[in-house]
């Protein structure tokens, strides 16, 4: 047998190099956490919700990977591992959401999914997350049914559910409008609109028992033309209107109602109005009551984290972040808090069960609110919420918010173990507002 020293040496070098490369690749893989980020990137909900949510995810992930976010989030990625994001469009049917979720888990092997704006998407994806044992953080959907209809192990929602929005809206309406005798509702005819109106009416029965409902209007989602609804409201004796309209529907209603003098005659309580304020600009009438599904955006208080978030977002995208951006930011920061805590406990890359254990019941600081995972056996967050009244600022040429009131989380959320409807029908017992 003949030996060839040069060839053997080359083979040895190549073998060592290959082993080193494989080890490096394995380490790189271990040093990365793959996240699936799902949000509307096309369709009517993309502009007001989906894209602001995606934008916030990009900013947060970039800052966390660089270790450049403000304290206490100034460590790299999740537990020291850089985040690798895959963005998926939420557009399509609920069946499509489940298919895309399975693709993320089974083909792309993501470690966790953060996403979903639509309540329908969240309700469809939650069982799939349990089946596939995939850590999933729902970021913007509002339906309280997610954790009321049964416990979840793998599903979390940092963002408070929609009951908070309606209860705070009723509290603010009764605070700012005196001697209410009648009011009306204009809400989209699907789960979000109907649930929002139901919770608002139940809260009003507690807070203003003598006030009665005048008109209950449920136009089709994305109807666009609201002439008949505006006439019905103009001929009513309502003192104000409740609306959970969002997106183009909200803006179209404001344009049409303003042109016909409705909003000059009676104010509207807009539970999601904050997301449209920048676009409406001077088109938003004075006296409109504005909510933002939390103390977010123009309804937020300054803080180092909030100031940083607003600056980097505005610098990059040219507009200020609205509440969907905050919902995404606090969802990613909640996941980071849990992951870092689990990693510190494990002393290495944590397993999903360790992250889940760390996530349950935690309290952490979002850009604009302290979140406590207090409902749904520690899987559903609560926070304070604020409402304000629009007032046009001639100097800036934009509407400001005045008379902003903050309601503590315990004032506007049901206690753990009780459904929102049962709490509201029982007179909101145990609410702590001071």
């Amino acid at each position: 047998m003949q030996h060839h020293p040069v060839r053997n040496s080359a083979a040895a070098v190549l073998t060592v190099a290959a082993a080193w490369a494989l080890q490096g690749a394995a380490q790189a893989q271990q040093a990365t956490v793959k996240l699936g980020i799902v949000s509307f990137l096309t369709g009517p909900a993309a502009g007001p919700f989906g894209i602001p949510g995606r934008n916030a995810a990009e900013i947060l992930i970039e800052a966390l990977n660089a270790g450049g976010a403000p304290a206490p989030y100034n460590t790299v990625g999740l537990g020291g591992a850089r985040i690798e994001a895959k963005y998926v469009d939420e557009v399509g049917s609920t069946a499509n959401q489940v298919t895309e979720f399975r693709n993320l888990v089974q083909r792309d092997n993501v470690d966790a999914v953060v996403g979903y704006v639509s309540s329908g998407s969240c309700l469809a994806v939650a069982p799939a997350a349990e089946e596939l044992k995939e850590l999933t953080v729902l970021y913007d959907c509002g339906t309280p049914r997610i954790f009321e209809e049964g416990p979840h192990k793998y599903v979390f929602r940092v963002t408070p559910h929609a009951t908070m929005d309606s209860v705070a809206a009723a509290r603010y309406a009764t605070h700012s409008i005196k001697d209410i005798s009648t009011y009306s509702g204009l809400n989209q005819n699907y789960a979000w609109g109907q649930d929002s109106w139901r919770d608002f009416v139940l809260a009003m029965k507690v807070l203003a028992p003598k006030a009665g409902v005048d008109k209950e209007l449920f136009p089709k989602l994305f109807a666009g033309e609201y002439g008949a609804e505006i006439s019905a409201l103009l001929t009513s004796s309502s003192q104000f209107i409740h609306s959970s309209f969002y997106d183009g529907d909200l803006e179209a209603f404001v344009f049409q109602a303003t042109a016909r003098g409705l909003l000059q005659r009676m104010p509207v309580v807009m539970t999601t109005g904050e997301s449209a304020m920048q676009r409406l600009g001077a088109g938003l009438p004075d006296g409109t009551i504005i909510g933002g599904r939390g103390p977010h955006g123009m309804l937020s208080k300054p803080s180092p984290l909030n100031d940083w978030f607003q600056k980097v977002y505005t610098d990059r995208y040219g507009v200020r972040p609205t509440y969907p951006s905050y919902h995404m930011a606090q969802s990613i920061l909640g996941l980071k808090t849990a992951w870092d805590k689990a990693a510190a406990g494990a002393g290495a890359r944590p397993g999903i069960d360790q992250v889940i254990a760390a996530f349950e019941g935690i309290e952490f600081q979002g850009p604009s609110a302290t979140i406590r995972m207090a409902l749904g056996k520690g899987h559903q967050g609560i926070s304070e919420i604020s409402y304000g009244t629009s007032r046009f600022n001639k100097q800036t040429g934009r509407p400001d918010l005045v008379d902003v009131v903050f309601y503590p989380a315990e004032c506007v959320n049901p206690p753990d173990g009780m459904t929102a409807v049962a709490w509201l029908e029982g007179g909101m017992k145990g609410a702590m507002c001071n």
Partner: protein, 298 residues
């Protein structure tokens, strides 16, 4: 009494909206026998083009009247260009194919154009409310009517009369009527059916874009507006009879009044009423209200 008046005016405003968006769809179907799903994209392009032009115009503080003219011209120009490009570039390749294939092609075109909208205008919203505000309003008791809405009713009436006059009293209109009635006989008599097809498709596209242009000040121009319109326009055209301009007008008035009555009197059925009316009409008149009886061909 005020409620009855409100139902009448609201119904007519909604009917005007429906007629303006449906007339192009029914014209293309009547002549070319194509259920053009891309019509929703024409509406969207008209609305986006108009909103962009209106925004730029009013930002410069120019006279209001010019803004109305620009609003209409911007939408129609976009409809003209897109309609011509699509007809010459895509649709002429599938003439004579099975109807299902042609519908699928127009659906594919619709999806492509939706993405083109994102490429050009992005995912944001384009408000163009200045003409709506500039048109003012009129008070009738507690009811306040928008001047723009009243103008929209007038615009729809003028459009209906213009369509009727053009179809009955112009050479091209008569040619169109012949092709609608029987394409093969029209071709046998020497009518250049291909040219009529091109002109009709471009005209339908212009009308679709015009619908978007005049609606832009009332709506928030945003992604997905074309989807809603195509469903509504189809319901109106099905009620009136596919291919009938008079049918589209009557269908729009019926749907408009029924919907307004539902909102004022029984708001719980508002979502159902449009399709309920459509189903009721189709039970008794399967081809719609204004479709002529067809001889059976052997």
């Amino acid at each position: 009494m005020l409620t009855a008046f409100a139902i009448l005016t609201d119904g007519l405003v909604y009917a005007a909206y429906l007629f303006v968006v449906a007339i192009g769809l029914t014209l293309i179907f009547g002549v070319m026998k194509i259920l053009n799903v891309a019509h929703g994209a024409f509406y969207a392009f008209g609305a986006y083009g108009s909103a962009t032009a209106v925004g730029l115009y009013f930002d410069r503080g120019l006279p209001v009247a010019g803004g109305f003219l620009l609003m209409v011209l911007a939408g129609m120009t976009l409809g003209l260009v897109i309609g011509f490009v699509l007809e010459r570039g895509i649709l002429r390749l599938v003439y004579g194919k099975d109807e299902v294939i042609v519908v699928l092609v127009t659906y594919a075109v619709f999806l492509i154009l939706e993405d083109v909208v994102i490429l050009i205008w992005g995912p944001g919203t384009y408000p163009a409310y200045q003409p709506l505000v500039a048109a003012g309003n009129v008070a009738v008791g507690r009811l306040i009517l928008s001047g723009y809405d009243l103008g929209l009713i007038g615009f729809a009436v003028v459009l209906a009369f213009a369509a009727r006059l053009a179809l009955r009293h112009t050479r091209y209109g008569r040619l169109l009527t012949v092709v609608i009635f029987d394409r093969e006989t029209a071709a046998a008599f020497g009518i250049d059916v291909t040219t009529v097809y091109t002109a009709t498709f471009v005209l339908g596209a212009v009308l679709g874009a015009l619908g978007g242009a005049v609606m832009a000040p009332k709506i928030a121009v945003t992604l997905g507006i074309g989807v809603e319109v195509i469903v509504l326009a189809f319901a109106v055209v099905a009620i009136g009879g596919m291919g009938s301009v008079e049918g589209a007008l009557v269908g729009a008035v019926i749907v408009g009044l029924c919907r307004a009555a539902a909102v004022h009197l029984v708001p719980q059925v508002e979502l159902f009423v449009i399709y309920g009316v459509m189903a009721l009409v189709l039970v008794f008149r399967p081809y719609g209200l204004f479709t002529r009886a067809r001889p059976r061909r052997i």
